[in-house]
Amino acid sequence: MSYIKKPSARNPSLKPNALGLTVRDYEGVMSTLCAGCGHDSITAAITRAFYELDVPPHMVAKLSGIGCSSKTPTYFLSGAHGFNSAHGRMPAILTGASAANRDLTYIGVSGDGDSLSIGLGQMAHAIRRNVDALYVLENNGVYGLTKGQFSASADPGSKSKYGETNPQQAMDPVLLALSLGATFVARSFSGDKSQLVPILKAALAHRGFALVDVISPCVTFNDHEGSTKSYRYTRQHDQEVVEADWIPPDFVPPAGEITADYAAGTSADVTLHDGSVVRFTKIPEGYDPGDRDAVVSYVRRKRTAGVVPTGLLFLDPGGSEMHAANRTVATPLAQLPYESLCPGAAALDALQRSYR
């Protein structure tokens, strides 16, 4: 439970990062989610990604909506300001927060109910605006907190815990984000930390809206036979179609390390704004993670074939994020001195000559 304090004992074997912080410093309070919940694995991956990126926790703002997934920001980065807002409204609150202070790193955590039903409009418009944020959609196809209703991402024909069959079409956040012009679109699986952590790191380094859809099975309401979001189903159908790794700007490969395996397919490097590199490896024949239309049709084809394609599926590092489009000053708006904002009494007098 969240009021149970984690043991504060330091493990001397934990390796500090460049800031001298260990991975413990990137954790939060104890999770109150069900044992085995996919969301907890994602929390661990988020913790790891921030730790490995050497981000000072206080320079992160973590926001969420309402639902099981939206509880998780208390479970990581206790040194960051957090905001558990209202159902489906996190994207707007995050957008406003980003408008006020562009210096912080923003992470929004949401679920399929929060993002694809009540908050679909807000998520869509945050994508359109290309707000500079990592947006993690913890996707389990079910409403957990209200005990087992289908969500908008439940596949047609999938069965609920109570035996009902879902008659409606599923919304695919990856296809949706691609069609809305998202500049970074990835899908992963909560059970695949080795894939998820590099994606989260690349998403945090990306300047613009980074959607990371993570299939995150709900052990209590959607992990049964007939569910297409169960651990078993996901493990069987998850197919990593694009492997990507994130390489920091100042990375010097240790002697003898094998940095890439080019055997299975082609590879490509994409440089982000901060000088870091996303290295795509094992790209399937004919797949271009920079070609939006091609990615859309690839994902569609895979989906029709019953495969859940995962990986960093699409990346456009050149998109203009919200502040670039607005031409906002470099200093966070919230920190501008008042003197630089108020034109003063003399200007008011002068202006009012035109009100005569």
Binding site: A124, N326, L336, L348
Partner: protein, 601 residues
């Protein structure tokens, strides 16, 4: 009849009449005469009837009046009703290019026909120019009929079209055509006429929405999020224009502001709350339907204690209602917006000057009390030009950011908690994201204890809610105090709000002339200050004048003060047009008579 009359211009919207009409109003203003202009326009872009009413009054009574001395009938579709509205003995100016239907003729008014269409066909080329210039030609006629100073008019045209000689030439020609025609054919000026005065020397002509934008600019607002809605849209138009003028770095072209056109009002208020949480002064402007949508997150800002400024330029509800008509129908909605126990700070400007100052103050209050603050204007104040004293600004002003802890403050503390300890105002210190990990806290709309931790404990929940109530109560001494004017031997009081101001003052003067002495109180803030309580205590009989059907101000007074319901009589006008003094006088006199009838002989 000198400097005391009203005239109305009946036009078709989308034909360019608005600029001619405001030119007339502005010319009268520049002649130093108290004047008001009310634009009655349809929710439409082109082709529907629209009216503009101008009232001049040497004593400064410039509320709307429905008694028109002169009708400028330029819309054949509404001739009949327009001609009907002129008082007996008045005048009708119309386009005599076509004969007037005999049934429209009245014997008790004077018809002044000018063949505007023909004049324009003879003198101007393109069809659009003919349409536009017709307005300027009738403005010229009115200049002759009413004795508007032609130098003033020419000067205004020069200011407007100085850089465009071709436009200047056609406008000057049009004015002259109308002027000369009147001089040749009518006895000019009419008995209703103008004479220069000096009452408007240190005043300006400004609408409330522009004044609100100025208030936000001067308060240092940097984030504005909004969704377009009549009649508040021009708040953001003006704010954008002002920011482009004063907040863009001339060298780098970078902006010291961020204006977000949201996808809806749900998002607009979310953005404001996000920005406020992060330490920027942020606001939104909307109207009633927007407030309905924003209510959910207003509750979040209330409970999580996040500053937000919400401008509500009220229009006629319920539902879509009448978007281009005025009302004060959102008083109760804003006072208690959102589910659960919520109460908000409200500021009620009564004119554009107060719009400016109250908006600036709203940001101080929002940050001091860490709460949403509503500025309740209305369409009449917001979209009509008002004559108000020149706005002043005190350069020594610095924003009141309320209790915000810096990194150094935090380091001096053993431990930081978001919602305690509170100060005497019931406010606890907040910290801004990015300050330090020691100040990091988790903001939530869910149940929380005084430390900010999640709770479902009854006592812990109540403790926070009780503090919020104390905080709200403290704010009564910080919102703008009510404006009070007393008369010796007053036998009743009038309590009113916002744009009712001018009509109520005029009504009180008229009532006083008839021996009915009344005191005046205009509410300017909520929670109600002690001065409101004591005014209510001092008067046995009060009339609450407001522009809505359900007597919302009266309800709020009975709910939130100790006043007895029976002390408060209700005077309401809610048809969507600005309040008139005669509506108030009639109703007050009627109700006084009724109560006297009931008294035993």
């Amino acid at each position: 009849m000198v400097n005391r009359f009203a005239f109305k211009l009946a036009n078709v919207n989308g034909t360019g009449s608005a600029s001619a009409n405001s030119l007339l109003m502005q010319a009268i203003f520049r002649m130093g005469i108290p004047v008001s202009g009310k634009n009655l326009f349809p929710s439409n872009i082109q082709g529907l009837p629209t009216w503009y009413e101008i009232r001049v009054d040497r004593d400064g009574h410039t509320a709307r009046t429905a008694r028109f001395d002169l009708m400028v009938a330029m819309n054949a579709e509404t001739y009949e009703a327009d001609i009907d509205e002129v008082r007996p003995g008045g005048w009708v100016l119309f386009d005599s290019s076509w004969p007037l239907k005999p049934s429209f003729l009245r014997t008790d008014v004077t018809f002044l026909g000018v063949p505007y269409a023909n004049i324009c066909i003879e003198n101007f080329g393109a069809a659009r120019e003919r349409t536009l210039m017709k307005n300027i030609v009738y403005a010229g006629t009115l200049a002759a009929l009413l004795d508007i100073d032609m130098d003033v008019v020419q000067g205004m045209l020069a200011e407007k079209f100085g850089a465009k000689p071709k436009l200047m030439a056609s406008n000057a020609k049009a004015i002259r055509l109308g002027y000369d025609y009147a001089k040749e054919h009518f006895a000019c000026p009419l008995p209703i006429r103008l004479e220069a005065m000096d009452t408007t020397a240190d005043t300006i002509l400004i609408n409330g929405n522009t004044a609100i934008a100025l208030g936000a600019l001067y308060a240092g607002a940097t984030v504005a999020a909004w969704y377009p809605i009549t009649p508040s849209t021009s708040v953001l138009d003006a704010f954008k224009e002002l920011c482009e003028e004063y907040r863009v770095d001339p060298e780098t072209n970078e902006r010291r502001y961020c204006i977000l056109q949201a996808e809806d009002e749900l998002a607009a208020i979310g953005m404001v709350i996000g920005a406020g949480w992060n330490g920027a002064r942020a606001f939104t402007a909307t109207s009633g339907p927007g407030i309905s949508l924003m209510s959910e997150l207003v509750g979040l800002a209330y409970y999580a204690e996040i500053p937000a400024v919400i401008v509500d330029v009220q229009r006629v509800g319920p539902s879509t209602g009448m978007p281009t008509r005025t009302q004060q129908g959102d008083i109760l909605l804003c006072a208690y917006a959102s589910h659960g126990d919520t109460k908000h700070l409200l500021l009620f400007p009564g004119n554009p000057e107060e719009c400016f100052h109250f908006t600036a103050r709203a940001f101080d209050l929002a940050e001091r009390f860490q709460a949403p603050v509503f500025v309740l204007s209305d369409l009449d104040i917001g979209m009509n030009d008002w004559v108000v004293p020149r706005l002043t600004w005190d350069d020594s002003y610095r924003p009141d950011r309320g209790r915000v802890l810096s990194r150094e403050d935090l380091e001096a503390l053993p431990k930081y908690h978001r919602y305690s300890p509170e100060d005497w105002q019931g406010v606890a210190a907040r910290t801004l994201p990015g300050t330090s990990s020691k100040g990091a806290f988790f903001t939530r709309g869910s149940g929380h204890n005084k430390h900010g931790g999640y709770t479902e404990d009854p006592d812990e929940y109540r403790e926070v809610m009780d503090r919020l109530a104390r905080k709200h109560w403290t704010a009564r001494n910080f919102v703008p105090p009510a404006l009070i004017e007393t008369r010796p031997n007053a036998s009743f009081g009038i309590v009113t709000v916002g744009s009712c101001d001018l009509a109520v003052r005029e009504a009180l003067a008229e009532l006083a002339e008839n021996g009915l002495m009344g005191d005046y109180l205009r509410v300017r803030g909520f929670p109600f200050g002690p001065e409101v309580e004591s005014f209510l205590r001092r008067h046995d009989r009060m009339f609450v004048v407001e522009q809505n059907r359900d007597a919302q101000l009266r309800s709020l007074l009975t709910l939130e003060t100790g006043v007895a319901k029976a002390q408060l009589f209700s005077v309401r006008a809610y048809g969507g047009l600005p309040l008139q003094a005669d509506q108030v006088v009639r109703e007050v006199v009627h109700q006084i008579r009724e109560t006297e009838k009931e008294r035993p002989a």
